[in-house]
């Protein structure tokens, strides 16, 4: 039986066999309200929501689809109705007297569809006069849906693999990981004639490195850039073989899973007696890691994003650069998870201005940026690609086209995958989507003849370098 019959995305077959869903959903809702901090927000939002529709004017999906179902306020109201009816006194009394709204299976199916049409990018929150955080409501609604087993299969199997399987979302076993890193070390030798190590299980290191684990499969240049920065700055870092995955899909569908995944990161840092978490180029991994103090308390290890580290080192003059710069026109896409709250917006820009000759901004940007269209975990759901790159990605494609950039830098594994697909599907095939450390790698001066040689971007593209396929075949071996 096809498990995509009901929703746009696949779910596990068992999800279709769950019975008595409205009661289970309400039981989960009651438990969540009891133990979490969502109740006060729901109370405030239900009372004050003014229905002014300013959120519609800021939602890239509604701008493209013009379907009223895509107005953030309307989507959130799906959950508000349930809350008002079952968890406020007025709602309960009103239902006793007049009947009215009842939670049904069909209503739950509508929620299941609608809350996965939102990427929880939280752009609408910035423009809501009341301050309603529709991203928070999407986050909460997805958790409640997960408790009745409505979870996109792509997200579920990744979390299962991470928490109960091999230990990471891409199911990369330790020998394959080490093999990949050895391969990248050889690349450093071949391309730059420099010996750079990917250090494993170094006890007492300052930083434990948590990239999106998929980088080990897909983003060899980003990883080499990370290692290169740590090498030239004499950074004390290590990759823990107990846990080397920064990805946390709990953020996208379940606080229960999120808590477990974050705790595993902290456990690995403590196992290695290290002091800090160094997150790779990944937006949601960074935001999830920022939740470490929530779960680990006052002595939680501090979290540093690799761009913050690189920026600090560049400012301190500890990253030697070649005389050449990136010649192509480069633009920067702000990943929502690190930029919306204004936490990381300037560091990558300052790095890019230092290493690119023709850096241009997308408009709008920073806290008002448009989502890549694959946020909230939707990028992992391959079966909704036409939605992601169509109505959801249209604005982003227009934004990129307007910059006339040849290279889009996005320091996020999810954004990179999505932006590549957006470019492919929107006649922007010539645009290259890369990570920030990919470009940094090209201009770092390792002090060897090979690394100081000048080369154009085109030459760089054409030369032998670690291909995704090569890395994957290494892992397959």
């Amino acid at each position: 039986m096809l498990t995509r019959e009901k929703y746009s995305y696949y779910v596990e077959p068992s999800a279709l066999e769950v019975t008595d869903r409205p009661r289970k959903f309400l039981a989960a809702f009651a438990a969540v309200l009891e133990h979490s901090n969502y109740g006060a927000a729901l109370d405030t939002y239900c009372r004050l929501s003014a229905k002014c529709a300013r959120c519609a004017a800021s939602c890239q999906l509604y701008e493209a689809s013009l379907e009223s179902r895509d107005i953030p306020c309307r989507r959130s109201d799906l959950l508000f109705r349930v809350y008002r009816r079952y968890f406020t006194q007025a709602g309960v009394v009103k239902a006793r007297l007049f009947g009215g709204f009842t939670l049904t299976d069909e209503y739950l199916d509508e929620m299941a569809e609608e809350f996965y049409r939102c990427t929880a990018c939280r752009r609408c929150k910035v423009t809501c006069p009341i301050g309603i955080d529709h991203g928070l409501i999407t986050h909460l609604a997805r958790w409640l849906l997960a408790e009745i087993d409505v979870i996109p299969k792509a997200l579920l199997v990744s979390v299962r693999e991470q928490l109960e399987g091999v230990g990471n979302t891409s199911a990369i076993p330790v020998p394959a990981l080490k093999d990949t890193c050895e391969f990248l070390e050889e690349e450093f030798q071949d391309l730059y004639n420099v010996e750079i190590k990917f250090p494993f299980d170094v006890e007492g290191a300052e930083y434990v490195f948590f990239p999106a684990v998929s980088d080990y499969l897909l983003e060899a240049d980003t990883l080499m850039g990370n290692a290169a920065v740590m090498h030239v700055t004499n950074g004390s870092w290590t990759i823990g073989t107990g846990n080397y995955d920064g990805i946390n899909y709990g953020l996208f569908y379940s606080d229960r899973m999120m808590e477990r995944i974050v705790n595993n990161v902290v456990a690995e840092v403590r196992r290695l007696r290290a002091s800090k978490v160094l997150v790779g180029e990944c937006g949601h991994a960074t935001r999830s890691a920022w939740f470490i103090p929530t779960f680990a308390g006052l002595d939680a290890p501090p979290v540093v994003n690799c761009m913050e580290y690189a920026h600090q080192m560049l400012e301190a003059g500890k990253i030697p650069l070649k005389d050449t710069r990136i010649e192509e026109r480069v633009t920067y896409h702000d990943p929502c998870n690190i930029a919306r709250g204004g936490r990381i917006t300037e560091e990558p820009r300052e790095i890019l201005r230092a290493i690119c000759r023709d850096y241009v901004e997308m408009t709008p940007n920073r806290t008002r940026n448009y989502c890549c269209g694959g946020g909230g975990g939707t990028v992992s759901i391959d079966e909704i690609r036409s939605f992601r790159t169509g109505p959801m990605g249209k604005r982003k494609a227009e934004q990129i086209r307007a910059t006339e950039a040849q290279v889009v830098v996005s320091p996020c594994a999810n954004c990179k995958k999505q932006l590549r697909e957006v470019c492919e599907d929107n006649e922007l095939e010539d645009v290259e989507v890369v990570g920030l450390h990919d470009l940094l790698l090209k201009v770092i001066d390792f002090g060897t003849a090979e690394s100081t040689a000048t080369e154009t971007h085109e030459e760089y593209q054409n030369r032998e370098q670690p291909e995704t396929g090569a890395v994957q075949s290494k892992i397959a071996e």
Binding site: A31, H35, N37, A40, L48, R54, G131, E147
Partner: protein
């Protein structure tokens, strides 16, 4: 109204206290929250987006806040009632603002009904509230200008006072309560992301899912 809003304020403040107490991460970005709160309490810079609607609603808010509080006649009532008084606006300015309030209330209804997105969101109350708010302004204007008033003075004054009372009753029961709660909303939104450290596992226990395979 006062009791209703006071109840809202007390409940909200106690909820905020509870959220902060339960939050695993007590490092809260108060400065950023304050800036966002002030930005939306005085949203002059936000008018560019959806210009007509935003301009109308901003003007409407200025008029409906200023006139009832700073009208000389109202201040005289406060003075005779509890002895408090404060500077008043001129009656001429009050007239202009009153006409503005009525006109913008009407425009709000029209704009809500004609824009595709706001129409899709609107409830019955969203159309009715601006009209209800306009009634005390229309009647108040007629009370101030008996020459133009086709109705009896006493009847108009009665409508003015009673419609004002209706509004006072409605404020705590409707979205109008934002007049008291708006300063707290940005804080509440931010605190909702400050999870209690073990909320997830406790929910798992409650639902009997502890230790269950994923």
């Amino acid at each position: 109204m006062v009791l209703g809003l006071l109840r809202h304020a007390v409940v909200t403040v106690s909820e905020i206290g509870k959220m902060v107490r339960r939050a695993g991460n007590k490092d809260i970005a108060y400065r950023q929250i304050l800036l966002a709160t002030v930005k939306w309490l005085f949203p002059v810079g936000q008018v560019r987006r959806r210009f007509f609607f935003s301009f109308t609603t901003l003007t409407f808010h200025v008029a409906v806040i200023v006139v009832p509080i700073f009208l000389a006649g109202h201040i005289a009532l406060w003075k005779s009632g509890i002895g408090l008084s404060w500077p008043a606006i001129s009656n001429g300015l009050a007239d202009v603002l009153t006409i503005t309030a009525v006109a913008t209330a009407a425009l709000l209804v029209v704009q809500r009904a004609t824009a595709r997105d706001s129409r899709a969101l609107s409830r019955f109350s969203d159309y009715v509230l601006p009209v209800v708010i306009a009634v005390p302004f229309v009647s108040g204007f007629l009370v101030m200008h008996p020459v133009w008033n086709p109705f009896s003075y006493d009847a108009t004054l009665f409508v003015h006072v009673m419609s004002g009372n209706v509004l006072l009753v409605l404020i705590p029961m409707t979205k109008l309560s934002h007049m008291a709660l708006l300063p707290t909303t940005q804080l509440v939104s931010e605190l909702a992301w400050h999870f209690p450290p073990d909320a997830g596992s406790k929910v798992g226990v409650d639902l009997g899912k502890e230790g269950q395979p994923i």
